[in-house]
Symmetry: C2
Subunit: 195 residues, 2 copies
């Protein structure tokens, strides 16, 4: 039996469990990072926004200078978020995370200095947010920095999905672009050129 | 004999050659990247601006997952400029280059897509520029994107230092911060919050 949006009922799981009720077959193989890279590429192609993922920070230990090959290196902790750029004259900055968890988003997914970075950006007039995908539910949310900060006051270690339903914006999945987060920012208002 | 600003006359070279007339001994060992990293750190520490150097893009080929060690990787061409961030609510984006050349800055130092990137940023309301240091002259200039674009129309492959003297802004070297490029942007006006 086919469900709308490529959703199929999974007969092997307990229907009372929201997490396992539906398994999405439409989006297999694409992760949030791929979707965002394709989305940002689309925005650049139509000259809408210039937002890039930053390269993964690596500490390089040994290089073969003959062919510029890195022989030894280590992944290091990023100081900032993964994505930034410009849209309608505004500085855009966000972190994107996936979780397999169905009810909660564990804040351990984000480094404390990344949270501090988002706070600084907001304070200096940028547009800062989180994009969180609950992969098993196939839901992707945009949570503005101010609502993230309001949550952090609680000192809780996980954000319940109800908080996302209440405060965040659901990004509807499309074919092109896949994760149209700028449409969400537009709908929220406030992102007007030069304002 | 001591000259102002730590400059010493080099007796071994031809005085008619601007390049070799003075050798700077004050700044030995610090390169432009180090200076900019320290400057950006200073700006962050005083909560003035949040501008970072992006990590070097690397294509990772082989990883030892036991200790997260990169066993094989290669440097790749950057799609964007090296530095970006936020200052007074404005999106800031620039590329920084050193040259040992004394009379000309060779444009081969910058990838064509980096030039295109700076153009896009300017068009979308960001503040885009080049920082160029003539190491042997110990002069560091800030050249705004609009003046860079005006030069590129000429199709010349090198920018003569006279063009920098005429169109760019000399960044006076200080102890802290070492390369105070935001002071230059401030003096030029136009970087007012929200404008």
């Amino acid at each position: 039996m086919n469900y709308p949006n490529g959703l199929k009922k999974d007969r092997t799981t307990n229907n009372n469990n929201l997490c396992n009720k539906y398994i999405n077959y439409a989006n297999r193989g694409m992760n949030l990072e791929d979707d965002l890279n394709k989305t940002n590429e689309y925005y650049r192609n139509i000259d809408k926004a210039y937002i890039y993922k930053k390269p993964t920070p690596i500490k390089i230990v040994k290089v073969n200078y003959k062919n510029n090959e890195i022989k030894e290196g280590y992944f290091t902790t990023p100081s900032t978020t993964d994505y930034n750029g410009i849209y309608k004259g505004k500085y855009i900055d966000f972190e994107a995370k996936e979780t397999k968890n169905c009810k909660n988003f564990p804040l351990t997914n984000i480094h404390p200095h990344q949270l501090k970075h988002l706070e600084n950006i907001e304070k200096h007039g940028g547009i800062a947010f989180l994009i969180v995908r609950f992969t098993k539910l196939n839901r992707t949310y945009l949570l503005l920095e101010k609502d993230l900060q309001n949550f952090l006051i609680s000192n809780k270690k996980t954000i319940n999905i109800k908080y996302f339903d209440e405060k965040a914006y659901l990004i509807k999945e499309k074919y092109t672009p896949r994760v149209d987060y700028l449409e969400v920012l537009d709908k929220m208002g406030g992102i007007e050129y030069g304002k």
